[in-house]
């Protein structure tokens, strides 16, 4: 095993697609870009590819840094690299920014070739199914017929699940982490509040704020603050902040408690770098995903065509994507006699736990991933 655990300096690439993509909503994207990164080397038989699907606010920068001076590496760097649980000595890992994103792939912020102006509100509402279809096109472009694995947490887990439904012959293993077969009403309600915060911001301009040279910063900020509350557990917030004051009670509405300071910091940071139109679309993709719907709510039937082997993981303190929701996926897979393992990781960090390098969690991932067979072309 290599001692150097970092993938090092990475660079994004862009794939342009001229073939029209019909979306679930019925609209057609005549052409589009997907920005992506890869780590490790694709082997001769192209059997070692692993696709990472991102969640609500993620992107293609999954591991490594763009320069030595970067403060932070990619968002799942603790998982991916030489000698890490998803070992780039063995696997060729692909991260991409989904359609509708704001990090380089075609989305509301990018230029609509028909108008030469940003798409803004006119960018279609994309779904998990659309993402998976576009990801399949990216694999085609890379010459990859079949994924050794698809990996995703939260909304990314929904994409991993959808891969096994939409492209059963193109995925060997699916790692569905901290996810759900659809959102509960409560979960969707959080999304609605987040969207309302953005949409009712006077600077939203019905999604066409680019041409007004403003950003609905307040809405985005509140949406993110709300999100952060739901990604953490009560316990971990208590442990991290408790009722700690920054200074003293001043009988004001300024930042007085440490928790407030944290939320405002997270909100401000996010509002400065994320696109509001992307955010409301990502939450809609979450709301709409429900593979059982066209099977009369029968998830077992929805998963009956899958062929992949599954690892399903949940976290005990995750109340936004609770273990019970993961168990629904497991049950449907068991009903179909699929190869599946399920672990419920004891973790304090709530939904965010899937991004943390918890020892047991990573041991499970490492063990599972190292057993993935990529045939005789195992690059060492």
């Amino acid at each position: 095993m290599q001692e150097n655990y970092s993938i090092g300096i990475v660079a994004p690439q862009t794939a342009h697609f001229d073939t029209p993509l019909t979306l679930k909503c019925g609209r057609v994207l005549p052409q589009f870009d997907l920005v992506f990164e890869t780590y490790g080397t694709l082997n001769a038989s192209k059997s070692n590819a692993v696709l990472i699907c991102h969640a609500l606010s993620g992107n293609h920068h999954v591991a490594g840094k763009y320069s030595e001076n970067d403060k932070y590496p990619g968002w799942w760097d603790n998982l991916i690299g030489p000698g890490k649980p998803l070992d780039t000595n063995k696997f060729f890992v692909i991260g991409l920014n989904n359609l509708g994103g704001c990090h380089g792939s075609s989305g509301p912020k990018s230029i609509n070739p028909d108008t030469n102006k940003p798409w803004g509100a006119d960018f279609p509402i994309v779904t998990v199914e659309d993402w998976v279809n576009s990801q399949a096109l990216l694999l085609d472009a890379l010459g990859i017929k079949k994924l050794a694995a698809v990996v995703g947490g939260s909304l990314g887990g929904m994409q991993a699940l959808e891969w096994t439904i939409a492209y059963p012959d193109r995925v060997d293993h699916a790692l569905v982490i901290a996810s759900a077969p659809n959102l509960t009403a409560q979960n969707m309600a959080f999304n609605e509040v987040a969207r309302q915060a953005i949409i009712t911001d006077p600077e939203f301009h019905e999604g066409n704020y680019y041409e007004h040279q403003v950003v609905p910063r307040r809405g985005l900020r509140i949406a993110r603050m709300l999100g952060h509350i739901t990604y953490l557990s009560d316990d971990v917030m208590g442990e991290k902040f408790g009722r700690k004051l920054r200074d003293q009670i001043n009988y004001s509405f300024d930042v007085e408690f440490e928790m407030e300071s944290y939320l405002r910091y997270q909100g401000d940071k996010f509002a400065g770098e994320f696109d509001a139109n992307t955010y409301i679309r990502m939450t809609r993709a979450l709301d709409y995903y429900d593979p059982a719907l066209q099977h009369g709510g029968d998830l077992t039937q929805a998963l009956s065509g899958t062929k992949a082997q599954f690892l399903v993981l949940s976290f005990t303190s995750d109340w936004r994507f609770s273990p019970a929701r993961s168990r629904e996926i497991v049950k449907a897979l068991l009903d179909n006699e699929r190869t599946v393992s399920y672990a419920e990781i004891t973790a304090a960090h709530g939904h965010d736990a899937f991004l943390m390098p918890d020892k047991h969690y990573h041991a499970i991932l490492r063990s599972y991933i190292s057993n993935i067979d990529i045939g005789d072309n195992h690059a060492k």
Binding site: L311, R327, V330, K331, L334, D335, E337, T339, V340, S341, Y342, A343, E344, T346, H360, A363, I364, S367, Y368, N371
Partner: protein, 209 residues
């Protein structure tokens, strides 16, 4: 002195029930192994019978070991029942040397009969003469198969073969087959005294559970 309180570690030392369990399974059957430990039984069966096997295990380290061993494992607590499994969805459900450590013993046996067309239960026979002897001598039994002291044992529902027979009678459970063994030898004469380990093959007498 025991240095582990894992309720399933007996299995690694006592594989005498594995061969009998294997004999009662059909080739390629769908099997649920409750309290599967590190997946040893499923590994044992994988090579010979090509069962479609799933283990159920509560302990983190055992779940990790199963995943390492490429055994399908579902992490859950058996005390909560088997709500994630459909009625009659497995050919056989196995509970190997775990019954005595269950709190909701009655519930889990009935749940197994709901989920499995057949059920295999193995447990240490508390009526075994060495246990009786230790009790007569005024001490709680400690043996290879019951390796715990009274104060650290996970075993809360120990029973004898006669007890379990009666349990089956009272719960409309049909005993398809029963084998009693001591040190891998089958015991036919006075099994409740001379038998160390009991292995039952059961099914529900109730139709449409």
């Amino acid at each position: 002195m025991p240095n582990s309180v894992s309720i399933t570690n007996n299995v690694t030392e006592f594989r005498q029930d594995f061969a009998i369990i294997a004999n009662w399974l059909k080739f390629g059957c769908k099997l649920l192994d409750l309290g599967c430990g590190n997946g040893e039984l499923l590994q044992f069966l994988r090579g010979s019978l090509e069962v479609k096997g799933y283990g159920v295990e509560k302990d983190d380290a055992n779940v990790l070991a199963c995943i390492k061993n490429n055994i399908n494992v579902i992490q859950m607590d058996l005390e909560d029942g088997l709500s994630g499994f459909e009625n009659q969805s497995f050919d056989t459900v196995v509970l190997s040397q775990t019954l005595q450590a269950m709190h909701n013993t009655e519930k889990i046996v009935l749940e197994m009969l709901r989920v499995g067309k057949e059920v295999i239960v193995t447990f240490p026979n508390f009526g075994y003469w060495r246990n009786r002897w230790q009790i007569t001598a005024g001490r709680m039994p400690v043996s290879k198969i019951l390796p715990y002291q009274w104060y650290d044992t996970p075993n809360v529902h120990l029973c004898t073969i006669n007890d379990f027979d009666e349990f089956c009678r009272n719960h409309q459970i049909e005993i398809i087959q029963r084998k009693v063994i001591t040190d891998s030898k089958e015991i036919h004469w006075m099994p409740n005294i001379l038998g160390n380990l009991a292995i039952y093959r059961l099914k529900s007498r109730q139709l449409g559970v």
